[in-house]
């Protein structure tokens, strides 16, 4: 799983005590692997509005990946920014570990790079 996907994920346990803390999910024991991918600047610039930057920043800090604190005014002209973004959201893969909800403590496991987001019947 890439971090762009993680940026879209949210705990969906019903009756979570603190719904404000359901996003972003916090990684636990995450094993990362970097897999090189071709960079597409137009893709990166145009998908940027879909990224929740504060959530991505928090997550990358926890994982020890460096990205700029803020999105620059003209991201299309900022090669360093685009490379950092590309590496963080598209090249970094979480292979094993889990994601924990800071609201209710629910843990979603990641096995062989695949998150299991299913809930038990009573959690829906």
């Amino acid at each position: 799983m890439r971090l762009i996907t993680h940026n879209m994920l949210k705990c969906h346990v019903k009756n979570c005590k603190e719904p404000d803390k359901q996003f972003p999910l916090q990684f636990k024991d995450a094993k990362l692997e970097q897999i090189e991918a071709e960079r597409n600047n137009e893709f990166l610039v145009r998908m940027l509005p879909r990224i929740d930057w504060p959530a991505l920043l928090k997550t990358t800090k926890e994982l020890g990946i460096i990205i700029p604190e803020k999105v620059p005014a003209n991201p299309a002209d900022d090669d360093e920014f685009l490379q950092a973004l590309h590496t963080a959201i598209l090249e970094m893969h979480v292979k094993e570990g889990s994601m924990v909800c800071n609201g209710c403590g629910h843990e979603y496991k990641i096995t062989k790079g695949i998150p299991n987001m299913l809930l038990a019947e009573h959690e829906i």
């Binding site: 762009i4 994920l9 949210k10 705990c11 996003f23 597409n40 893709f43 998908m47 940027l48 987001m117």
Partner: protein, 232 residues
């Protein structure tokens, strides 16, 4: 050719879907995947018209045949079947295991969402509606949702009577499933999947009942009814 049979199974919706949908896909995943490689034209066109940088979800992605169609968009696949998601993962396609009725995504996260031949597997009107509500929830305002479901009025190789709720056989040819050590393994294996067959107009009607969206396009293609709706 084995015929579909009317669904007379008395079970709760969740138990029925567990037995006649989820469990079946786990068993037929490999054979199912081998038969699913060609993109359907309406879906291919829809995906090709999306702007570069679009981010979307393919809910019920199966073996992920649409996930890699456009390298300049980002499409996350989800499926209830671990076995099918593992096939996606082996192909390095971005995918995760989740339930279409309770999607693990933040609201308005995506530019678009597609759900191809999935919602007909929900065994009550309320659940089919909930699946579409979830698709609309996860796309932003102005984003679109594309849904395909099996038609009752199919004119192709399958013909149905008037029963909308049916069990449709999936046959895994015996010669390919020869992992049974006690015999020659030559026997076909038959699994029944539950389907709700949509009547003409029924899918559009569901979108209209939910509201908050406008139908951009609706039609019939490849034995399915489909709708493209834009979130208002």
């Amino acid at each position: 050719m084995r015929d579909p049979v009317p669904d007379t199974v008395v079970l709760s919706s969740t138990a029925k879907e567990e037995q006649y949908v989820h469990a079946v896909y786990e068993k037929i995943a490999e054979h199912f995947s081998d038969t699913r490689f060609k993109a359907w034209p309406v879906i291919e066109r829809y995906l090709k018209e999306l702007p570069v940088g679009s981010v979307g979800a393919d809910v019920g992605c199966g073996n992920g045949k649409y996930l890699g169609l456009r390298p300049d968009i980002f499409l996350i696949g989800t499926d209830r079947s671990h076995a099918l998601v593992e096939i996606c993962g082996a192909r390095r396609l971005e995918s995760l295991v989740s339930d279409a009725l309770n999607q693990p995504f933040r609201s308005a996260a995506f530019d678009f969402a597609i759900s191809i031949a999935v919602i007909h597997h929900f065994s009550s009107a309320a659940r089919r509606r909930q699946a579409i509500e979830e698709l609309l929830r996860i796309v932003k305002r102005g984003g679109t949702v594309l849904v395909f479901v099996w038609a009752l009025e199919q004119r192709g190789r399958r013909r149905f009577a008037d029963d909308q709720d049916v069990l449709v056989p999936w046959v895994v040819p015996g010669s390919r499933s020869g992992n049974d050590s006690s015999s020659s393994g030559a026997q076909d294996q038959v699994f029944h999947r539950y389907y709700h067959l949509f009547r003409e107009g029924e899918l559009s009607e569901l979108f209209c009942q939910i509201g908050g969206c406008s139908i951009v396009e609706a039609g019939y293609d490849r034995d399915n009814w489909y709708v493209i709706a834009r979130k208002d």
